[in-house]
């Protein structure tokens, strides 16, 4: 009798815990769905072919957001081009070459600190270093470099994890065949780590595309109807455009639909770039299984 009631209590306890973890998962999903729904509900009305292909008109209260789409696309791709090689190379050094010791610990702490720096500080650094000191001006180049540094810790972290996840036995097998260390890393270790590295890049892409503060002083134009001709041109960018319309304009209420529409486009753009990375990753994963 006592035994039975104990069992029942244990069973109920278990059910209660299941319910709690299940609800937590549900809340997260609901939050995402809620945000997306809110954006679609408010922004979908603004989306049209003209909205996507025309520059803003009438003091940015009408027309499209095409220059901002193009600008954010360039800035994001630029940031990835800056951060991916540098980040992957650093991760290779940290995991494969460096002797674990004081220097490595200092570098790791530095990387983690970099990850914790507020994004506006990156913006000010970009302004001081790239825009002013290196005389790149407010440009795609300055913005991409600033965003690149911003997402560097993400890429390094993900790449390190990916490299560490490659079984040690692969390295041993290759080295034991009289293959040099560099050949082992480039032919065996990196190809096996590419899916994980791409995951890091996906996170980086999302961050780079969505940030406002780092590009505010380094790349983003308040308004320009012309598309950039070189990396030294200023560009409009989606997050900055939203910020401008929502805070600095004289028609804040009037442009609400445009703001939501822009946010929707920003999310779609990030998901689009992510999708490419995800497809590449799954193709590679299917080829490399162990």
């Amino acid at each position: 009798m006592n035994e039975q009631s104990l069992m029942k209590r244990r069973y109920l306890k278990q059910r209660a815990f299941f319910l709690i973890v299940r609800l937590s998962a549900l809340v997260i999903t609901l939050a995402l769905v809620g945000i997306l729904f809110f954006l679609f509900y408010n922004g979908l009305g603004a989306i049209s072919w003209d909205f996507l292909t025309l520059p803003p008109t009438d003091s940015m209260t009408k027309g499209g957001i095409m220059p901002a789409i193009v600008g954010t696309f360039y800035l994001t791709i630029g940031a990835i081009i800056v951060a991916l090689p540098l980040g992957v190379a650093s991760a290779i050094y940290l995991t494969e070459y460096a002797k674990q010791g004081k220097l490595i610990r200092v570098i790791r702490v530095a990387v983690n600190c970099l990850a914790g720096v507020p994004s506006v500080v990156f913006g000010l650094f970009g302004l001081g270093f790239f825009v002013v000191f290196l005389r790149f001006g407010s440009s795609i180049l300055s913005g991409a470099l600033t965003l690149g540094i911003l997402i560097l810790p993400t890429i390094i972290g993900a790449s390190e994890e990916a490299l560490k996840a490659v079984p040690q036995t692969f390295r041993e097998a290759s080295l034991a065949l009289g293959v040099s260390k560099w050949a082992t890393i480039s032919r065996i270790v990196i190809p096996s780590a590419v899916p994980g590295i791409l995951t890091g890049s996906i996170l980086g892409i999302g961050r780079a595309a969505g940030e406002t503060a780092p590009i505010m002083f380094t790349a983003a134009a308040f308004f320009t109807a012309v598309l950039p001709k070189s990396v030294f041109n200023e560009v409009m960018a989606l997050p900055y455009h939203i910020y401008v319309l929502a805070t600095a304009g004289t028609h804040i209420e009037q442009t609400r639909p445009i703001q939501y529409g822009t946010a929707l486009v920003l999310i779609a753009l990030v998901l689009g770039i992510d999708l490419v990375a995800i497809v590449i990753r799954s193709v590679i994963r299917r080829k490399k299984r162990w």
Binding site: P167, F170, R171, A173, S174, A176, L177, G178, V179, I188
Partner: protein, 253 residues
């Protein structure tokens, strides 16, 4: 009849940090013979094996004292490139560790990097190596398939074929059958018997019967020391030292 030793260790001490894993190991490994290294876990036999092709270089904070002579030359001299040593002294690991590549590419991976480019030479090398490892008949029609789809025993023979493709002089085997079923184990043992015609084999094993079956020489290790080393027959029938006898008869501990 004694053969020339191909590898000789002279008073080798080995340390992981402050821990001394091997003490004063002096032994000769004869050419075209199978030498078995036996002893309880942690006795240093695998450490010694990995010293012979400098695989212990990969572990931080290790230190070697004494000499490991390969064909008369100390492989721990500063001007010796471990990559060159490993080309001549191949290794098969405890767990089969094929690359996540096709069977064909597993074999050709290292030879290609070593400079063999022509398709005919590579094809011939694949066939030769797989035949030597007695795997050819099982895989000749699926060379393009991922090595990961093979069974454990087949994977291990593939790893042997992969090592043989570099045409080494010595093959080090670190408990090559401990992860395999009895039938695959028997196949690998037969293989060892055939391979000693052309290679020197040094095999670490936990399986006493295996050591008795495949080797000509056996070294018994305990707590980082070489307790007894001699003809397998003698070690297993009439060892000089009581500790060896206790271990072999299972009265250890």
């Amino acid at each position: 009849m004694k053969n020339q030793p191909i590898i000789t260790t002279k008073n080798v001490n080995f340390y992981y940090g402050a821990f001394q894993a091997l003490t004063d190991i002096t032994m000769d490994f004869e050419r075209n013979r199978v030498t078995a290294l036996i002893g309880p876990s942690g006795c240093g036999k695998s450490t010694l094996l990995r010293l012979l092709n400098r695989m212990n270089d990969l572990i931080d904070q290790t230190r070697v004292e004494g000499e490991v002579l390969f064909e008369g030359r100390n492989i721990y001299e500063p001007d010796v490139d471990p990559v060159e040593i490993r080309k001549r002294i191949g290794m098969v690991f405890q767990k089969p560790n094929p690359f996540p590549k096709s069977i064909y590419n597993n074999i050709t991976y290292a030879p290609r990097l070593a400079g063999i480019k022509s398709k005919e030479s590579l094809d011939a090398l694949v066939e030769d190596s797989l035949k030597q490892a007695v795997l050819w008949d099982e895989v000749k029609d699926i060379l393009g398939r991922s090595a990961m789809t093979l069974s454990g025993g087949q994977q291990q023979r593939l790893c042997i074929a992969r090592a043989l493709a570099m045409k080494p002089d010595v093959l080090l085997m670190d408990e090559p059958t401990s992860a395999l079923d009895p039938i695959s184990t028997a196949k690998i043992e037969e293989l060892v018997d055939e391979l000693k015609e052309s290679y020197t084999i040094i095999i670490v094993t936990h399986n006493m019967q295996q050591a008795a079956r495949v080797s000509e020489y056996t070294g018994f290790f305990y707590l980082g020391k070489l307790i007894e080393f001699g003809l397998t027959e003698k070690i297993f029938t009439n060892p000089d030292i009581k500790q060896t006898e206790d271990y072999i008869t299972g009265r250890f501990g």
